[in-house]
């Protein structure tokens, strides 16, 4: 089932799933907006789908919070699209993603201690 995520301003508080997925998408390298959308789609096996209308609102917040920055270096001209900007995960962004990962793992451990298990996916 495809669903849209709500965005919220990232801070020391827990990140929304949409924000977290964008940070994860940038974790292995700089990307432009469309590539981020594709990566999120791939990482979640199609369960999450960021639209253009949502993504750039998230990116603006991440830029404002310093978790992401625009990069000036661009790929080779034959691979470049001048309309696109490339985004880079900063150290703060990395730390925020790390903190969120640890928080989610701790939550998962609590759930498992209560005998909750992952269900096998049927589709």
């Amino acid at each position: 089932m495809q669903r849209e995520f709500d965005a919220s301003v990232p801070s020391t508080e827990p990140l929304t799933p949409a924000l977290f997925h964008v940070l994860l998408a940038l974790a292995d390298g700089d990307k432009h907006g469309y590539a981020i959308m594709k990566e999120v789609h791939r990482l979640t096996a199609g369960a999450a789908n960021l639209s253009a209308g949502t993504l750039y609102g998230i990116l603006r917040r991440l830029l404002e919070a310093g978790l992401v920055t625009e990069v000036s270096s661009r790929p080779a001209p034959e691979l470049d699209d001048e309309r696109r900007r490339y985004y880079h995960l900063t150290k703060s962004g990395h730390a925020a993603a790390q903190a969120e990962t640890e928080r989610l793992e701790a939550t998962l451990a609590i759930a498992r201690s209560k005998r909750f298990r992952l269900k096998a996916r049927t589709s």
Binding site: Q2, E4, Y34, M37, S51, G53, T54, G57, R83
Partner: protein
Amino acid sequence: MSPARSNRVLQFFLRLLPADFRQEYGREIESDFRHQAREAGATPGGAARLWRSTIAGIVRTAPSEHFRILRQDLGYAWRMMRRSPGYSFAVIFILALGLGANTAIFSAVDGVLLRPLPYPGGDRLVTLTQGAPLAGAADMRFSVDDINDYRQQTHTLEDLVEYHNMQFDLLGQGDPRRVNTGVVSHNFFDALGVKPLYGRTFVAADDSIGAPAVLVLSYEFWKRDFGGDPGIVGRTFRMNDRIHTVIGVLPPMPQYPDQNDLYMPVSACPFRSAPAFIANRKARMMTVFGHLRPGVTLAQSEQELKTIAARLRTSYPAAYPASADFSTHADLVKASLTNPARPTLLLLLATSGLMLFIVCANVANLNLTRHVRRERELAVRAALGAGRARLLRQMITESALLSLIGCGLGVMMAKAALPLLAGFAARFTPRATEITLNIDVLAFSLGLALLAGLFFGALPALASGRDLAEPLRAVGGRTATGRSGRFRGLLVGAQVAFAFLLLAGAGLLLRSFYNLTQVNPGFRSDHVVSMLVQLNFARYATNDKVVQFNRRLLQEVQRNPAVLSAATASTFPLNAVRPRIAAFEIQGRQRGPNEPAPTFDFHSVSPGYFKTMGIAMLAGRQFSPDDALNTPDVVIINRSMQDRYWPHHDAIGHSISTDGKNWAMIVGIVDNVKSYGLDKPPGDELYASNAQSPSNSSSLLVQTRGDPAAVVPQLTAAVHQIDPDQPVAKIRTLESLRDDSLAPARLTGTLLGLLALLALAITAAGIGGVLGLEVAQRTKEIGIRMTLGARRSDVIGGIVRQGLTPVAFGLAAGCGVAIVSTNALQGILFRVEPRDPAVLALVALALLSAAAVACLGPVRRAVSVDPMRTLRLE
């Protein structure tokens, strides 16, 4: 969908996002969407899903982005306000005055004119009137048989209920009191949909013969006379020699057609419940209310009422003589309640609207002035990437913040002024009790504040031209573009024009009021006091007893050395009690078959009435103690009646009759008096001696040597000496009645005058402020001109010309519009033409003078420029 169309639709939705967000990310969003669209097109339903998710994303993102910008702008606006406290305070205060006035007056317009009546189905509530125009009676009222017939025969009306008003003595609580009593059908309040505040209203059993007598109190009476005591239900009082029990209290509501103290069912009224009255089709006393049935129009009901009236005329010719031309029509109660107040309230609303425009124009000019000082700051921000739309949005936010704070202050001012305004409106309509600051009024106020903020916030941006960076390229600091200066001049001219309209309207009304004060009312109003003495119908059931009481009362009163003269009368000028209108015939004259019967206003008075009231005797004699029940009837008429019916000779010696059998001789002619209002023409009036035509309801009128109020306790004692159970009511001096009759004109004129003066002050301040800025900006130019030999007089002339040119245009425009629009005031002016040249000239002079005074400061500043110092600074 084609790519071009798809792009247009996407652009449409992108407009939901803030302009700078679109500027920043718009191209990327479009590009990414196109890529997604190519991929989505390959799967079934993919395109639709993509559109849904894209639009949903934009719709979700837009509010938070707008809110983020709003937070930024509000923070910036707050800092700017604190940096310019003088400007901020001036703007907030001026806006508060304008918005407060509009809020207060709109609350009156809303409560009286716009809101539906506070009864379910109030918009369909009608009152029926049965008239006999050819008998000279516009309102004959209805008899019991009339009401039953209309109730049975109508298909367009439902819930027909009856009402009439009487005054009775209420005993059992302190001094005996005369109370205004509404006598109603048992289902009267059910038909109106009125639920009691305490207890219950009437039921069918209350109206049956022999049922215990019950009362329902009005809210105002209960609060005023019983302190709002919830324990009032169950208390008993004596009225009409019966014990009455209070069964309920009404909620606050506009009472129509009379302000009653209490209500009783028809079975409790000794007159209405008398078998002879019930059986007499011609015994007409009641008013009828009803509702239009759903889907029925007033016109349809009118048609049916005509048909029923015609049927009754045919069935009962004796009760509905053809010569009288009986007919019945219906009127919406809402119109009757609101029409008297409509012209004045709409005039006040127009006035406050004009004043608000002047306020906004003035604030816009202040803002333009301030904008000139901020041009470099804005230019720097534009150069750093802020778009024009972004800067405009921020300026509007700053203005809206000031406007909203001004609105809050204005609403508080309006709340404080509301009791005064309601008191003013109460003179015109009982709906004044519904004037409140409700959610509709607050929404109106908020809407006005936002519009005002938009107006004076956007104006500097419109005035500054498209190139925001231009000030950075300008040499020598501050600039004032010609465009901005033209806008300022335009605003000054507009303020002057609107101020002219306001001042002209106020001037006309005040002149009208002055003319009213100069009217000779035809009677003496100083040193005369009146009190209503309504005799109990049961204890004073015969004419003899009434005549004896009145005679004894006058004897007692005239013993008082402070009393110069005394009289009793059924009514007197400017009194709330209207005289009875009677049709008559003149002995020896025949009336044509379709000619309406002549009528007069009937007064029953004692000898000494004309002396006490200072009404001039023009011919013949006054009433004397010899005019008695057993002597031939005599009457006195006024000059109006003499001129109308005996234009060529004296009426004295002629006889008139109201029933064709009993004739009364005219023995005297008195001058006209202004009975219905100082601005109303006198009617035809006939006076009979109250020894020959006694009335249970009379007013005692006493002319005193000194302060009339000082003798009131003695007069009351004189009444109680004759009858300890006899209440007195409506104690007023005639001076206060005359003041009351002038009050609406005085209050309206004063209110408009105050608003107009305020508008004048604001306009003058605006002229001075704008001219001051112009002088400040031209300091260098003035210094250079003086160095080159220009005289001070040339400089002064230039400044004054610059200041007064927009004023002159404004005067011309204002005068032109005033000449056309003041016709709307025709209906409320008294002996003043709407285009009165003296008023218009005075207004023009006042505005020119105010403008000239406003120019003094800038002129002084201009002539104090030191040319050498200016050159050194360059």
